[in-house]
Each structure stands twice: as structure tokens, then as C-alpha cells.
Subunit: 320 residues, 2 copies
């Protein structure tokens, strides 16, 4: 069997671990920097770990593809895999730590006006104006999407002594974190008026498109904050901009967008109290994320060759 | 007796609570927006709560002064109080929540390059470059100064799963937070080479001046981060700038400076990987801070009129 690795940023220790594990199953390994640099004898691999979507589309021998990212909405369309039977695993679970730290950071940056102070300092101004601050302490937090990211965030957020943390998920059940209350997505409306901070970490599925629509945005508590690290499709951008411009919302931080990079003509660029980051909440430049990503792949390699269920297998009926 | 209140940002509920408590001890209350607006019949109060340093310097009737801030180094000099017997209390303990949130925020902003991304977005650039990130997870944290701020920070930091949190204080003892290890300030040198994040929350005293000198900065772990929220006098600024420019340190965040506002000619303005904030980590614009500040004063008013020791009394021999 042949394994093609197309994951960037790997360190020597990761390559060695992959070679060793693959060797124990008589699997040949090839590391390529990108799909344009795949040696011809590896153009038809049995396994891909990495950014190999073009290859997967043409490769009938492919039995298992592990993508090193979490959101696989773009891979759910027909025709993405030449082999319909190809198993897909993702790396949901590797990014929780990184994205949770991002959520805490941008939340506090908004609540404490840290970008405003930084902009003044960049101009050489001391900028010692005192703005009203908000705090995670005593805030009512709602986490929409209680997977790895939502739970890892909630664990950290709880240490800041919020008034409460409500989780919202499709099933209304979360076994990993002890939310003060769990709701089904169908009951989202009931909690928004009592939410000071809404954290959105949803996968991109038919059910999550436009889930934060205009009516729901307007139902939120005056001065509330929104952080979206899931998918840009989940929010009505125009309604969000209106609510920020009018002062109904205290702030919003978006790391994900319907189109990335954000188009030049987007209204989001110039909306006040909107903190934009260029999809950097989770990426492979954090050692912990990279280590966990590789560990998860290697664990599933054991499962794959021992005919056990793959732990990180994507459920195509759910889309995540 | 007469109580003069010179604390800004008070809400009606705070004024009412002060009037009620003072009334129960037959104390007359006057609220003034600043020392320039004190009515003449209150120019010789018995108690001051607030920014009343000029008044205290000339007021022989003053028996108790409660300042709504924490660092009282500037009040330790002779001649600050016309009445040598005047009791001084401060509001150390009111700022822990606010300053802990500041420390977490600036630490993550540095580790995750969030100011760089923000600067690019301000220019209209997507700026999708991937920088190496660091994380609080698995970091070795040292907290220099384990009072309210240091402990409140450590409580939050622990939820991010650091490798460990070492506390350093004059006594080498901390009853409030269970640090992985406690050291005396005399043993600071032993921990700096194993520190990825140094949080400094020290009062300004003779013993803390220049405590982070050039030798100690250079002994720190390559790529380490420093956050100072105590007093600017604690750091050798030139050595800090050198260590940031050379890349020895990963970043530093300063909220306090030897001179504030930071003088135009200061080298700090233009030092790379240095995040400057204009002394905003703790201020009275956060509801929680203001509520706690007033509560602490009212608790000590009960102590004052019942001849009990004042809880927030400054120990002049220590200077905090």
C-alpha cells in the first residue's frame, strides 16, 4: 500500500513517527510539499493524509483520506472522491485548544477595547481615554455548537466566573462539558435574549446556514458580543453589520467568512466594532495542534489496518 | 464626622449605599467630582474615599483615607498626610478580575500575533500569513507577585492547561492559590531559565525597583513572554528593548511605565514585539471593579466605627 502525506509544517519527529507506523503495516510513504509536487509513482495512493483534494478527485485506488482540518462541508458534494467507497476522516479535535484561545482572546479584546488602545499607540498617542468595559465575569455565555471547540472554550471560560454557560447543539446533549444548561438547536430562540456572549462553533451544514438570521440577531441582549469561528455561512452578514452600526450589539469577531479572502467590496471591512481575523483561529502553526493532528492520524492508521472503526470518521449523513 | 467622596464613575446605587451606611454612623457625606470642586464646609473632612491626595496633604482633621486604587507607592513619602496618624486603606483586591483578564488577553494577543493580523486588516489586507504560534497550553508560567492580581490570573491560566505555574513572592508563601511551586523572591533567578511566560504584578517598593534587570532578562528562556501590570520601575527598559530587538524574547506587554504618559522620546514606542497599553488593565470602568471597590470601602467603614482593624489597611513598613 502507498501513503501520500500532503500535510504542511511537519517536523522531523512527525515524519519519523509516520514512517515508523506505516512501516509496521508494510506501507510505503511519500511526503510531498503540495499536490503539484507528487512523484509519479505516488499519483495513485491508497491513503492520503493532507491537502490532497485534487488527487482524491482522480484517484480510484484511494481507500482512506484523512484531512488535517476540521470543517469538511466542501467535501460532501458528489464527485469529490473518484472512489465512492473512500473513507473520510478529519482532524476535528485537534483544533479545540487553539480556537478556544482565539475565542477568549478576541472576546477580551472587544470587551476591553484593546484594539482601540493599540491603534492609538500605533499613531504615537497615549490614548488614555476610559471606555466602559465589559468582562467575562458575570457574563451570560451561550455556546452554539458543543463539539471539541465549544467544550474546550467552555472549560476555559468557566474559570473567568461567568454568570452561566448554556450549550446549544442539535441533540441537546453534551457529555464532555457540564454546561449549566443544554438546549437543542430548535430552542435557540429562547436563550438569545439572555445572552451576553454568543460563541458560534458550528460545522457548515444545510441546517446551520443562516442560523443566526436578522430576527435572532435583533433578539439578542443589548450590547451583546458574538464570536464566530465555525463557518461564515451561519450568519446574516448584513443584519450583523446593521446591529453593530446601530449599537445594538457591543461587538462581533469573525474568523470565518462566506468567501475567503474577504472580498474587497464587502461591507464587513468597514463595520464598526467588528474585529476581523483572516481565518487564523485554528491552524497548524501551533505545536500542540500539529502534534495532536498527527497523533489522531496515527491512531486511526492502527484502526484502519486492524479493521476497527475509524475514530475520526466523518458521518456523511450529518456532514461532520 | 464628615466623609468626602472623590471617586469617579459612581452609579446612583453606589451613592445610595454610601449615604445609607454613613448615615448609620451619623456621618455627613459630600460627593465631589474632583478636588477642585469641594464645597468649603467639606475642605476639612474626617474621612476621604477617592482621589483626594492634595486635600490629605493639608487636612489635619483627616483620620482615614481610602484610595480607590491599589498601588500606594507614591503615598509612602513623608509629608503626604498633614495628619501623621491618618490611617490609609487601599483597594487592592478590587482589580484582580479586571487585570487578570487583561493579562490573559495581551498574552494571547502576543502568542497568536493578533495585533499583526489586526494591523493588516486595518490596511485592507487579508494578511493570511501563517506565523508560528505559541499557546498558554503547555507553557511554563511564573507569577512574580502573588497577591490578588497574581492569584486571580493564575486561577484563570490554569484552565488553559499550562505545564505549570510557579509563584514568587517575598514570603514564598501563598494561601489563596495552589501554585505548583512557591519561591521566595530571593530565588527568582532559579526559575527564569525555565519560564515561558513571566507575569509581573508587584507593588512599587524599594525591593522591586529594577527587579527584572538585564542579567535576569537575558537568563530567560529563548522566546519567552513578559507581561508587566505592576509598576514600570520593576524592569530595566533598555535591557528589555535589547532582548526584544534581538529576538531573545518572544514578546512583552507593558501596561505600566516609569513615567506616564510614556514620554515621546521613549525607545519603547518603536520596539518590535512590544505591546503597549496606556495603564488600562485595572480601572473603574468595569462594573465588577467599581462594585467591589465600594463594597470594600463600606466594609472598612463598619470596621472603622466599631474599632476593629481595617481590612484593607496599608502596611507602611512594607509599602503595600
Amino acid at each position: 500500500m502507498k501513503l501520500l502525506v500532503l500535510t504542511p509544517s511537519l517536523k522531523d519527529r512527525h515524519r519519523e513517527a509516520i514512517i515508523e507506523k506505516a512501516g509496521s503495516y508494510d506501507v510505503e510513504v511519500c511526503f510531498a510539499a503540495s499536490e503539484d509536487e507528487i512523484p509519479s509513482d505516488f499519483s495513485e495512493p491508497d491513503i492520503i493524509y493532507g491537502f490532497g483534494v485534487k488527487t482524491a478527485q482522480n484517484c480510484r485506488t484511494l481507500k482512506w483520506m484523512c484531512v488535517p482540518w476540521a470543517g469538511v462541508d466542501s467535501l460532501m458534494k458528489p464527485g469529490v472522491f473518484a472512489n465512492d467507497e473512500c473513507v473520510l476522516t478529519n482532524s476535528s479535535g485537534a483544533y479545540g485548544v487553539s480556537i478556544a484561545e482565539h475565542i477568549i482572546a478576541v472576546t477580551l479584546m472587544m470587551m476591553r477595547h484593546l484594539t482601540t488602545y493599540h491603534e492609538e499607540i500605533l499613531k504615537g498617542n497615549w490614548g488614555w481615554e476610559r471606555y466602559h468595559q465589559d468582562s467575562i465575569k458575570d457574563s451570560r455565555i451561550t455556546v452554539l455548537g458543543t463539539g471539541d471547540i465549544g467544550c474546550t472554550f467552555a472549560t476555559r471560560a468557566r474559570s473567568f466566573e461567568p454568570a452561566g454557560i448554556v450549550g446549544v447543539s442539535r441533540s441537546g446533549v453534551c457529555e464532555r462539558f457540564d454546561f449549566d444548561k443544554m438546549l437543542k438547536t430548535d430552542d435557540l430562540d429562547s436563550v438569545l435574549p439572555d445572552t451576553d456572549l454568543l460563541v458560534m462553533s458550528l460545522p457548515g451544514t444545510d441546517e446551520t446556514v443562516n442560523i443566526l438570521n436578522r430576527e435572532r440577531i435583533m433578539s439578542m441582549s443589548q450590547g451583546a458580543y458574538i464570536v464566530n469561528v465555525g463557518r461564515g455561512s451561519a450568519i446574516d452578514d448584513d443584519a450583523l453589520c446593521d446591529a453593530l452600526e446601530s449599537g445594538h450589539l457591543g461587538g462581533a469577531s469573525l474568523d470565518v467568512f462566506k468567501t475567503e479572502p474577504l472580498p474587497e467590496e464587502s461591507r464587513l471591512w468597514k463595520t464598526k466594532n467588528l474585529l476581523i481575523t483572516p481565518h487564523v483561529a485554528g491552524n497548524l502553526t501551533l505545536d500542540h495542534t500539529l502534534n495532536k493532528n498527527v497523533d489522531m492520524f496515527l491512531e486511526d492508521m492502527d484502526n484502519f489496518f486492524n479493521d476497527r472503526p475509524l475514530k475520526n470518521k466523518v458521518d456523511r449523513s450529518r456532514g461532520y
